[in-house]
Point group: C2
Chain length 373, copies 2
């Protein structure tokens, strides 16, 4: 094992397992995904010091619908400057880094790119308001979202930010969706806010009020389920009921939750007959002031963001994850026709009995609910 | 690879990966489960030619509640006689087999045992009514459920059967729950019925009408989500809202669904802060008459039931699976206090916003629903 952190599960397996065991283990872990497509722009990625991986999910040829093949790009990265550098320097450094990664995504023909949760150190553990709230920006006019990448590269950009809502004088954790024309299509706020250990983000912002918006883009109908919302099956489900073909899950997650990471977004793809894209940041972020956590200890960081971004398909197949330790771009070509094909085949929506659940849930939420024991 | 089928994922990893990679890969795949507890009754299992595995999930010591440690047993097995043997012989042979496996479970101190879905060949693919409907029995008075194991071994028995409801002149796919006193506690019918390829079980029985019943036993509150219901997150969720501490998922599943098997029950344990037990049958079942399937082909079997029964805990940890190819008993000791501890820590229920979902779902099920696009 090189260094103290495993680079990725797949690399370990590939180094040690003989064929045909490796093939069978990969099938059990990832399903029968199609072969990698000829990797694009490998040199550019390598020069810029990030990992580039590319996979493809195919669908059956239909008679009446042409294939709807699109390419998504998932970007994971560490913060660029130390967390005590001037705010504007930090922001600019991150913009430069994302800029050079998105350029490579463009070389790979990516149509929809999604970044990790918030363009800033994930400093909510500190409980400090300054300087972190200075990273907040308007969804419609902010620095990050004005980012001209979308138009330049004809790419839908999903940009998760810390949003400052001047009108209501509040902050939100928000994903801004920018169409490939460069216009803001809209925004989707984080629906579920963690209150766990280092992560009581409600010190800064509350549960989102934008519901389960789905964005019609030139490349399909997309939705954004931010971070902690991945633990809530109803959240994925409701995006899907509103028509989402791809649900992005920009996240910031560490430590004990790592064994759950491969499970939840993938389960959502299966249960909802859609694609899901799970994106985590990378690296350990150090904060100058010591802070306390739910474990009774004092910290200057909250551990390794373990990367491992991946895409899951409606048939249960998934890509391997990006590295646990380094910046990376995951390019995935998918034929969106697969969603309906799998839905027609497995019929989880048809057999879902939602009318019964709507009734049961309405009863179950009442304070005087009597469980069926 | 010995033979044409991999015995289990874990065995391959253990044969080829060096420490410390193995330790880290196991953490990523299964989480940090506690060590095996001293295996009981290994000789008895080996004499009777089935695999015996045992694991433990611990919880933190609390000040006001004593630990609530119980042991569950999951039994997976192939059918014993060929499917064209006389029905009564098949039934008796299966009773004998289960009898000798449950005896070993008793030696291991199991408090709650659950068998796989239906005491019969999984013949619904044939579309033949005879002789398969002869396997059906009353939930309250049937042969299987009269099985005296529960009282003999002071064990709660979950016995999934093909139920004949004489009163309504219908068949159901039903789990009978027998208390450790030997009395029938009640029954739970399969809530979601597949209509996929070989598996249109609605030729035989329809969606269950027993809702999301939870059974209070001496060893905790348990529920049974039968087979295809594992694809429906709302189904798990509603058992949990009704108080289930352990949800059993007796199943019969093959082929392309194998990569999904480790995902769905485990996701349900995570999302609902409870234990889940996934049980699949083993082996390939051959039927005399050729039948057609959703793939346009003719068959005499529908492939390998891949076993791999496992238990998942609310903290996202899971046991490795039983073998893919042989009969087995999985014994798991769990401290049920872990459910509330994890719920208090991660708070998915508290942050679930169920009132909003009840409203949204009620709207979404209407035929004239306008999605939020």
């Amino acid at each position: 094992m090189s260094g103290s952190e495993l680079e990725s599960l797949e690399k370990v397996l590939e180094s040690h397992l003989p064929e045909p065991e490796l093939r069978e283990v990969k099938r059990l872990l990832f399903g029968k995904r199609k072969l990698d497509f000829p990797a694009c722009a490998v040199d550019a990625a390598s020069e810029r010091d990030f990992e580039l991986k590319a996979y493809r999910f195919e669908a059956a040829q239909e008679q009446l619908r042409p294939p709807r093949r699109i390419r998504v790009g998932l970007i994971q990265h560490r913060i660029v400057l130390p967390t005590d550098a001037p705010v504007l320097d930090q922001v600019n450094a991150m913009h430069n880094r994302i800029g050079e990664m998105v350029e490579v995504a463009a070389m790979c023909g990516v149509n929809v790119v999604c970044f990790q949760e918030t363009w800033m150190p994930f400093a909510f553990c500190t409980r400090e308001k300054e300087p972190w709230t200075e990273f907040a920006e308007s969804a419609e006019e902010g620095n990050t979202t004005r980012f001209q990448l979308a138009k330049k590269y004809n790419m839908v950009v999903i940009s998760p930010i810390l949003e400052r809502d001047e009108l209501h004088n509040t902050l939100w954790n928000t994903a801004v969706v920018i169409s490939n024309s460069g216009n803001v299509l809209g925004k989707s706020r984080k629906n579920h806010i963690p209150r766990i250990g280092d992560f009581n983000e409600s010190t800064y912002y509350m549960e989102g009020d934008t519901g389960h918006k789905v964005f019609q883009t030139q490349f399909g109908k997309i939705a954004v389920n931010i971070c902690y919302g991945r633990h809530h099956p109803l959240n994925w489900f409701m995006y899907s009921l509103n028509g989402a073909e791809i649900i992005f899950n920009p996240s910031a997650t560490v430590g004990a939750l790592e064994p759950m990471w491969p499970i939840e977004a993938r389960n959502a793809a299966i249960a909802n007959h859609c694609f899901t894209c799970a994106i985590n940041r990378v690296g350990t972020e150090h904060f100058k002031s010591e802070f306390t956590s739910g474990d009774g200890q004092k910290h200057h960081d909250f551990g390794l963001f373990y990367g491992s971004s991946y895409v899951a398909a409606p048939d249960g197949n998934r890509t391997p994850g990006l590295s646990r330790t380094s910046d990376g771009l995951l390019v995935v070509e998918m034929d969106l026709n697969l969603n309906r094909q799998i839905s027609d085949k497995w019929s989880f929506k048809m057999t879902g009995r939602y009318a019964e659940y709507a009734e049961e849930l309405a009863k179950a939420i009442r304070h005087d609910f009597k469980p069926n024991i």
